[in-house]
């Protein structure tokens, strides 16, 4: 079941799941035991749909592949003079195979919220995921600080601390310090958990 948990771990690396109307978001994450590639199109500034591909590897080396269709919704947004806050509802359904079982149905539902200024960032997410033989929920939180407030077209740098807790499988909370960089429409994130798990993520808005 580890792969099902891992499927949703990369969601914590993403920023807003819905962008401007007509915008397309490409994302890719690579870890030792996982590859993700996705494309999402925002058909309004409140709704986006997309498709994802996943390759996952569990402790035994067995691989899982997933193809998911996703629908994301911006349910609420506060645009303040110096801050922004958001609440998103996310859902997805798709096909999973593990080399033995094919065409299994899986789904996800959840919510994401964040508050940010140009200097501080806080986010929290709950994701519920299930298949015919699996059911769990993930709690994910992040805090971030930007030591240098950059101009619109300058390189932006953030240091962030991420916590992930999965109560169903009784995993310990994973703490991951990470560095987020973005320049114009391209974002990179690099981090290593306190246990030494590395990850690298990139995202492009077009």
């Amino acid at each position: 079941m580890k792969w099902l948990v891992l499927v949703f771990f990369p969601l914590i690396a993403w920023s807003h799941p819905v962008i401007y109307q007509g915008g397309t978001m490409l994302s890719n994450m690579n870890m030792d035991d996982m590859t993700e590639a996705g494309v999402f199109y925002s058909f309004t500034h409140k709704w986006a749909f997309g498709a994802e591909y996943w390759r996952l590897q569990d402790d035994t080396g067995a691989e899982q592949e997933l193809q998911l269709a996703r629908l994301n919704h911006l349910a609420w947004r506060y645009n303040g003079p110096a801050s922004q806050a958001n609440l998103y509802l996310v859902s997805g359904i798709g096909r999973a195979e593990d080399g033995v079982n094919e065409n299994r149905l899986g789904w996800l539902g959840g919510l994401e919220t964040d508050w940010e200024t140009r200097e501080y960032f806080v986010s929290g997410k709950y994701l519920h995921l299930a298949s015919p033989d699996f059911d769990t929920g993930l709690w994910i939180g992040r805090v971030g600080y930007s030591p240098i407030i950059a101009d619109f077209n300058s390189l932006q740098a953030w240091v962030m601390l991420q916590a992930l807790h999965d109560p169903v499988t009784a995993r310990e909370t994973k703490i991951t310090p990470l560095l987020r960089l973005f320049y114009r429409n391209v974002l990179w994130e690099m981090g290593s958990s306190t246990k030494g798990d590395m990850f690298f993520n990139w995202m492009i808005h077009i």
């Binding site: 962008i19 500034h45 303040g80 110096a82 922004q84 101009d151």
Partner: protein
């Protein structure tokens, strides 16, 4: 002669842009997310587009041939996910 040509070019330039529009925008805290604002406004073919996160404004110039209404600006900024606070024209 050089000065005369320069003055003429400046006059042509000034007359080509009828208006400078400054739009106050709330919520512009993430420059990557705010790229949508430039994409939306560039589609109108405005010129000299500047996003100023410090002062929370977007400014641009419009040529004589382009009429951009306040409602259109508000619509485009909303489609980008943000809220207009005020619009001034010079």
């Amino acid at each position: 002669m050089k000065g005369l040509l320069l003055s003429a070019a400046l006059l042509v330039s000034m007359s080509a842009f009828a208006e400078t529009v400054t739009v106050g925008v709330n919520g512009m805290v993430c420059s990557m997310c705010a790229q949508g604002i430039t994409k939306k406004l560039k589609a109108l073919q405005v010129e000299q587009l500047v996003v100023d996160l410090d002062n929370k404004v977007v400014s641009f110039s419009t040529p004589d041939s382009l009429k951009v209404t306040d409602d259109k600006i508000k619509e485009l900024i909303k489609d980008a996910g943000y809220a207009v606070t005020d619009i001034t024209r010079k």
